[in-house]
């Protein structure tokens, strides 16, 4: 139950923070760079319009284009398959994992479980590939220092988007490592009953972490900023 509450709270929290930052960004763009504190009603209207826009096919087309462009730029040649595998496996694992963890008290079983295991393997391979091929880029620390913006992080307001993206990359990698080791651990005859339960708990929270990180990463990366 605690996990369900934390999942709901963090997901809603991240969505709120990201939309609030986006709203602030949009407001700033509309007032020649002068950030304003919008009243909640105005934010509500803006959010409502954004949600409606999500229903439009055009929005998704644009997002897909942005994603493809970003992936092509950052994963040239055959390495795009690493990214594709990572993205697809992450999407399935996140959807199936959170759905069963939140809505099905008995937990995952049947074909979704088989799929979870298969995509888990793919995820492990793709994550290792990502780290091998892209880790250096995110570890270099050569982010675009000039893009300081309050919309990157509400806490560290001077944090650049690239730095945050790099931090998220490594956070996702760390969570992925935890996910893989806990999944592996529960398959090995090493851990007793209580440890098994703990492993599952850690697995779930790591999965939540990776999902939250991926949401923020995607928001930073694939959703274009408002037109000025």
């Amino acid at each position: 139950m605690l996990f369900i509450v934390i999942t709901a709270a963090t997901l809603l929290g991240v969505i709120f923070i990201r939309t609030r930052l986006r709203y602030a960004e949009a407001s700033a763009a509309g007032t020649n760079g002068t950030e304003t504190t919008a009243p909640p009603l105005t934010y509500g209207r803006w959010l409502s319009a954004r949600v409606k826009a999500l229903a439009a096919r055009d929005t998704w087309k644009k997002a897909w284009k942005a994603l493809v462009a970003w992936a092509t730029a950052h994963y040239p040649g055959w390495t795009k398959w690493i990214f594709a595998a990572f993205g697809a496996s992450l999407a399935y694992l996140a959807a199936s994992g959170i759905f069963y963890a939140v809505f099905i008290p008995r937990g995952m079983s049947g074909f979704p479980l088989l799929g979870h295991m298969a995509f888990g393997g793919l995820f492990a391979a793709a994550l290792a590939g990502l780290l091998l091929w892209r880790g250096r880029a995110y570890a270099s620390g050569r982010g675009s220092a000039g893009s300081v913006s309050g919309s990157a992080c509400p806490v560290f307001r001077n944090l650049s988007k690239d730095t945050l993206r790099a931090a998220l990359f490594w956070a996702i990698a760390a969570c992925g490592f935890v996910l893989i080791t806990t999944a592996l651990g529960s398959m090995l005859p090493l851990f007793a009953f209580d440890a098994q339960r703990t492993l599952i708990g850690i697995h779930r929270y790591a999965a939540l972490g990776i999902v939250l990180g991926a949401i923020v990463f995607a928001d930073l990366t694939f959703i274009p900023p408002p037109k000025t």
């Binding site: 008995r106 937990g107 079983s109 049947g110 074909f111 479980l113 088989l114 295991m117 888990g120 393997g121 492990a124 391979a125 994550l127 290792a128 780290l131 091998l132 880790g135 995110y138 570890a139 620390g141 490594w170 990698a173 760390a174 992925g176 490592f177 893989i180 080791t181 999944a183 592996l184 529960s186 398959m187 090995l188 005859p189 090493l190 851990f191 007793a192 009953f193 098994q196 339960r197 492993l199 599952i200």
Partner: protein, 789 residues
């Protein structure tokens, strides 16, 4: 109290046989005063005596025995009454509280909780096996729906009843036709469980119940005295105060008890060797289970028993006798019980009860299971007993016998145990919490009639009346074999040989089959003699045409024919045809006449009818005997067809092996599925195997493999009908799982080691890269990297 001491003076003087019946008011008054006294004593003392002062020892029970009128028993008197637990135990133990306990109250003890083993109404003659219970469990028949009264239930199942409940009905519950007035009621048999003496004899109990000596059964079974007489033979108006029947000392002998005087002291107090915690043997008298194929020395103890834990160490109760059954969720079914404390989980893992109290693990030294490598989902979805109890799953379920269903544990001249019903285990089913639980399963079998699409069982007696001899094919053979036993100079046991099986008449009047390895002559049944394991022909080979050599064989023929003609229920006179000559008795003299028919190689035996020789065993009976030889089953499809025709109406059916049979328009036997044929199942908990023999001890592939017996074993319908048309269910289907998925999932385990290695490699690589990145970040944070560059 001597049953005759209650006679008034005038009766004694006159020597009248039944004084109390002449003075019913006097008797009633005595009973009333005695009962009031007992109730007063009990009420005044119960509040004190039921409270435990703290001593862990139990008092020595050197106590006066009381009879059912609450009068002290004086063993030296002639014809004393049997002891009554109600009044003997009452001064200290509250009978009216105890009688609401799990073993005694039946349906009055609540909704019944998790399904338990029902009584099985078994009638081998008609192939009937109906699960009976007053609890609202799935698949059982309520006794009232079957027309079974308390009297019927007691006669059917009293052999394994602990007394009370249906065996001790109130006066308003006594149905016409019952003989409670003769037999007495069966009070709760406290000694049945609590008697620590090795003289406690469940077989004696069963024997007394069979004889309808209900009120005497406890006394006889406990070894307190010797009980003679048979109530079932007494006239229905006989009363216990009538005493012995002076006109009949051999057949209709009234029951009486001769107490073992060595048990009593000078104050007529008897020593009862009472165990506060009954021995396991007391429980196992009614709750034994064993695989059919297992030999006694192969049987293993439950791990708990092997560890010295008694049944009652977990299955506890207080004076209410509301016994803990020990299944998870029992506390919800009966909040008054402390049952959450006595589940597998509570003792081995501990936890928190639904009342919020902490349950410490390790009760009675229960080891804490590590279950290393078993994903936690297993503990949410499977009961502990799935992996730890009952026989390990095999391709086919294991057939077991249980005390109550198969009448085990009753020893004597007669063979009480029955091969049917066929109970199978383990069958994995989902419980009400959707968890898998191992079950025992039995397929009902009965003759029934359909009305509005619903099937109702027919009472065996109705079927017997309609079926006649169809259900007794062996009668044709036993009639002859019994007659042949009377042939002088036979020098052996007469047997019937059909094919490769020899049939001999047994003490129950049935046939016992054994392999035949003697000379084979054609396909006809052979009548032979067995002596010292060797077979010889009933008639020696001889030439009837040769007067010199045929004298001795003809003398044997005459003896045989004399015996056969005297056979009970013979359809005619017997005849024997030898090589074209027919022998028969005419005016008690042997008559030999030449027949023009082709001579048979072997002698032909038969009944003379309509000018011909009718075989002793007609073809349908021969087929049935042959088909059922060496089998536990008691019916053939031909017999079922015959009985359904005899029952006469189209809406009659027979249910067996999970299939409903009825006659189609062409008069042939047709099979169909019907809910009435569905099996009844109840969870099993024992016996518990050691951890090293639990499922999963060899790894995941104990269950998760394409050839797993756990998922891909099967349970086949079994019943009294010998047929290939039975219901078969895979283990996956009984569990409510998709078989192809389990097959696929099992297949993944063949690649599981490689998958684990792959995951380990990926994790190692990712971990190494994360470590490097971390070190780089640390270096940069500390300024070491920038400084160096």
């Amino acid at each position: 109290m001597n049953m005759f001491s209650r006679r008034c003076g005038s009766c004694r003087r006159s020597g009248a046989g039944a004084p109390d019946r002449r003075h019913p008011r006097l008797r009633l008054a005595v009973q009333l005063v005695a009962s009031l006294l007992a109730i007063t004593l009990t009420a005044s003392s119960s509040s004190d005596t039921q409270k435990w002062a703290g001593s862990r020892i139990s008092p020595v029970h050197q106590i006066p025995l009381k009879d059912e009128l609450n009068q002290p028993i004086v063993p030296t008197e002639s014809n004393p009454l049997p002891f009554s637990a109600r009044y003997t135990c009452a001064p200290c133990h509250h009978y009216d509280v105890i009688k609401k306990g799990l073993h005694f109250a039946g349906p009055a003890s609540g909704a019944g909780g998790r399904p338990g083993e029902p009584w099985i109404w078994l009638d081998e003659r008609t192939g009937t096996q109906i699960p009976v219970s007053a609890h609202p469990w799935k698949g059982v028949w309520d006794p009232a729906r079957l027309g079974l009264s308390d009297w019927d239930l007691t006669l059917l199942f009293g052999r394994h009843m602990p007394g009370g409940g249906a065996a001790e009905p109130s006066d308003k519950d006594m149905t016409p036709g019952s003989r409670w007035g003769v037999s007495g009621k069966i009070e709760i048999n406290c000694l049945g469980c609590h008697n620590a003496s090795r003289r406690q004899n469940p077989s004696e109990w069963a024997k007394q119940v069979l004889r309808e000596n209900f009120r005497w059964a406890a006394t006889a079974a406990a070894g307190l005295g010797e009980v003679g007489g048979i109530s079932s033979r007494l006239r229905p108006t006989w009363d216990v105060f009538d005493g012995p029947n002076p006109d009949d000392s051999e057949w209709a002998v009234a029951p009486s008890v001769k107490y073992d005087r060595t048990l009593f002291d000078s104050k007529h107090r008897a020593f009862l060797d009472i165990a506060y915690k009954p021995d396991d043997a007391r429980c196992l008298a009614c709750h034994s289970t064993a695989p059919v194929a297992q030999r006694k020395f192969e049987a293993e103890d439950d791990v708990h028993s092997a560890a010295g834990i008694k049944c009652v160490s977990c299955h506890r109760h207080d004076v209410s006798h509301a016994m803990v059954r020990g299944y998870e969720g029992e506390a919800a079914d009966d909040p008054a019980l402390l049952s959450e404390d006595f589940t597998c989980k509570a003792c081995h893992l501990g936890g928190v009860s639904s009342k919020g109290e902490k349950i410490p693990a390790g009760r009675l030294g229960a080891p804490y299971p590590l279950h290393k490598g078993i994903p936690a989902a297993h503990f949410d979805r499977l009961a502990c007993t799935v992996c730890h109890s009952g026989p390990a799953p095999a391709k086919e379920t294991t057939r077991v016998r249980t005390s109550r269903a198969n009448r085990l544990g009753i020893f004597g001249v007669a063979d009480w145990a029955t091969p049917l019903p066929a109970i199978q285990e383990p069958v994995y089913l989902r419980d009400k919490n959707n968890r898998l639980t191992p079950n025992r399963m039995m397929w009902p079998a009965f003759w029934g009639e359909t009305k509005d699409g619903k099937v109702s069982p027919l009472a065996p007696d109705k079927v017997l009346t309609a079926a006649g001899d169809i259900l007794f094919p062996e009668k044709a053979a036993t009639r002859v074999l019994a007659a042949l036993l009377n042939v002088a100079d036979l020098e052996g046991t007469p047997i019937l040989v059909i094919g490769e099986t020899a049939f001999e008449m047994n003490v129950d009047g049935g046939l016992t089959a054994s392999p035949y390895d003697g000379e084979k002559i054609g396909g006809e049944p052979i009548w032979a003699v067995r002596k010292d394991g060797k077979f010889s022909a009933l008639l020696p080979t001889f030439d009837p045409a040769n007067a010199e050599t045929s004298a001795d064989p003809e003398a044997r023929i005459q003896k045989i024919l004399e015996a056969l003609n005297a056979a009970e229920g013979a359809p005619g006179k017997a005849g024997i045809q030898v090589k074209g000559y027919l022998y028969r008795l005419v005016d008690n003299a042997l008559d030999k006449s030449e027949k023009k028919e082709a001579a048979d190689a072997a002698p032909r035996f038969g009944w003379l009818k309509d000018g011909g020789l009718m075989p002793f065993i007609p073809e349908p009976e021969r087929k049935a005997i042959s088909a059922l030889a060496g089998s536990d089953q008691t019916l053939t499809e031909d017999q079922v067809s015959g009985v359904l025709k005899a029952l006469g109406r189209a809406d009659h059916v027979y249910v067996s092996g999970g299939v409903l049979f009825r006659l189609n328009d062409k008069g042939a036997l047709a099979a169909e599925t019907n809910a009435a044929a569905d099996p009844v199942a109840w969870p099993l908990a024992h016996q518990v195997r050691p951890a090293r023999q639990a499922l999963g001890v060899n790894g995941c592939t104990d269950c998760h493999s394409p050839t797993s017996n756990f998922f891909f074993g099967r349970v086949r319908g079994a019943g009294p009908l010998k047929t290939e048309t039975v219901t078969t269910r895979s283990a996956s289907s009984t569990m409510g799982l998709v078989k192809p998925y389990q097959l696929l999932f099992g297949l993944t385990f063949t690649a599981r080691p490689a998958f684990k290695m792959f995951l380990a490699a990926a994790a190692a690589l990712i971990g190494a890269l994360l470590l490097i990145a971390g070190l780089v970040a640390l270096g940069r944070f500390a300024g070491l990297i920038e400084k160096r560059s």
